[in-house]
Amino acid sequence: MASIEISKVTKQFGSLQILKGIDLQIQSGEFLVLVGPSGCGKSTLLRTLAGLEKSDEGELKIDGKVINDVEPQSRSISMVFQNYALYPHMDVFSNIAFGLKLLNKPKHEIEHRVNGIANLLQISHLLDRKPKELSGGQRQRVALGRALARQNPVVLFDEPLSNLDAHLRSQMRVEIKRLHQNMKSTMIYVTHDQMEATTMGDRIAVMKEGVIEQLGTPTEIYHSPKNVFIARFIGSPEMNFLEGPIVKKVPWPEAQKPDQLLGVRPEALKVSRGPLGPQEVEIGQMQIELSENLGGQQMLHGIIENQSVRLLADSLDKFSISEQVPLKIDLTKVHIFDKKSGLNQRL
């Protein structure tokens, strides 16, 4: 276990500023997810922390000790790579044991440790296979085993599941969380998948173009997004954004200003004809265009004041195409953003 402190870290490749002053504090034993679109600098930040890249400015600390000039071998950081990076000439046992052998651990201890990890990851039967004889999911497990074998206080994951199919991915998500509870290492997990981020993270750091835009628990980020980018990026299906006179239907002073955006998640919109609830406001008539059946719910696509919206309704409710229905919003789940700055006006 170790706490991590990243302050004012910048990194440039050629003339491109990739990290633009990253500040991030991670508590000991935390599982932090770093999420953001491809190319925003997540891997670069992770690699800088591991010592695989050198930061231009700023400070990296582990347990209060500055590690900027510590060699990667001595940082006590493990990393799981996106393409697994298993040693192709070694069998699974040697792959996992490699780091321990370099530490000159006694043979019986290495065997004990590797067997323990193999058990935990359910790869005991694969120990004498070479990586090329494994499936993608099995390789991923071996890569996890190798990273965990040294029991380093910090473990980094760089999009470890992105090469797996959806089923394996959801299975491994749970498994990695379980490992975290077992090992209690501080873990930083990088992904571009917001779903992975919200399901796995104790806290999430949302990154965009070399800047951390918001840091918080999944609930905080989902319910109080700091700006339009985060509101759009986190949550699926995506938040609806409406503009024009309709914004002023929200009875808040922020909504009355010019050039504001109304952000409302699909589950905060309702189309029932019943009376308004205590925190509900009707914002107009929506014309239904299309309904997608999702099983228990249906996704309605509609048009209101020439803008399209999507919302979730019970799949048993019957709607017909082109029908006009009153659209209500739940004020506890509505956001007003400034159109120009993109900032959430009520935070």
């Binding site: 071998q73 393409n83 990076a85 370099l102 190798r146």
Partner: protein, 272 residues
């Protein structure tokens, strides 16, 4: 069916073309008389005898030439391989001033035929007092084979994902440990092919050896075989027998490493 038969016939024909000369050499080596001129297409005749082989080993310096050639080829291969494996690694992994120029210069040396370099080589070696010394050949052979070997190794290293080395780094390897515990074992197919290339260039080389080595005690196999070509008449039987034995080590090497040759073509594509 017809197609298959046709292609089989064509393959057979070409195989015959390439195999027959070898068989013919076998035949000549087995003839007691010095009957190179014989018109007969027969390979084994009633007069076949191994006397040429016996004579080769007992009456000539063949074994000494063999020892010299093995020594020179082995040392050349070892020197060339060590230099190529390490310098190619640096060229593949590190970005330093002059790197591109070096790569280009290595390639440029390949544009000149080795015989063109013969005179400068001779002058340098005589200044260094390395004429009639194996060291002269070690240096020339490994340095002429080096550009190709370096490029070959670099091309292979380039296919090894960087993450593999980074994983080893985080596992606690030093840079040197990464090289010999991860990179070298993974590169074994390329190393084997490079070694074979180095070995063959020195094993069958004649022109440079003829210039550098003048003492018959130091002769390599190609020089020794040439010495059967006397002014009064070539001993073709001995010559053929020697040529056959010269090709045996190369044959053994090829068979021994054929496994690597095949895996070398596919291994780069196996992801981490």
């Amino acid at each position: 069916m017809m197609k298959k038969a046709l292609s089989g016939a064509i393959i057979l024909l070409f195989s015959l073309f390439s195999v027959y000369p070898i068989l013919y050499v076998v035949s000549v080596s087995l003839r007691g008389d010095n009957a190179f001129q014989s018109r007969s297409l027969e390979i084994f005749t009633s007069s076949s005898t191994i006397s040429n082989f016996v004579k080769l080993f007992i009456e000539t310096d063949f074994l000494i030439w063999m020892r010299n050639s093995l020594l020179i080829s082995a040392v050349t291969t070892l020197m060339g391989l060590t230099l190529a494996a390490t310098s190619a690694y640096a060229l593949s992994r590190y970005r330093f001033r002059g790197r591109n120029f070096m790569l280009f210069a290595l390639l440029a040396t390949q544009m000149f035929p080795a015989t063109m370099l013969l005179l400068p080589f001779y002058i340098i070696l005589s200044h260094l007092k390395l004429i009639d010394s194996f060291w002269g050949l070690f240096i020339i052979y490994s340095s002429t084979a080096l550009p190709f070997c370096v490029w070959q190794m670099k091309a292979y290293y380039d296919t090894i994902p960087r993450e593999l080395e980074e994983a080893a780094l985080l596992d606690g390897c030093s840079v040197w440990q990464i090289f010999y515990r991860i990179i070298l074992p993974i590169s074994s197919p390329a190393l084997v092919i490079t070694a074979l290339f180095s070995f063959m260039t020195s094993w069958s080389e004649y022109v440079i050896a003829a210039v550098v080595l003048q003492d018959p005690e130091l002769y390599t196999l190609p020089l020794g075989l040439k010495s059967f070509q006397a002014s009064l008449g070539t001993q073709w039987g001995l010559y053929a027998a020697g040529a056959l034995i010269v090709s045996i080590p190369v044959l053994i090497l090829f068979i021994g490493i054929s496994r690597y040759l095949v895996s070398g073509l596919t291994m780069g594509s196996v992801k981490g």
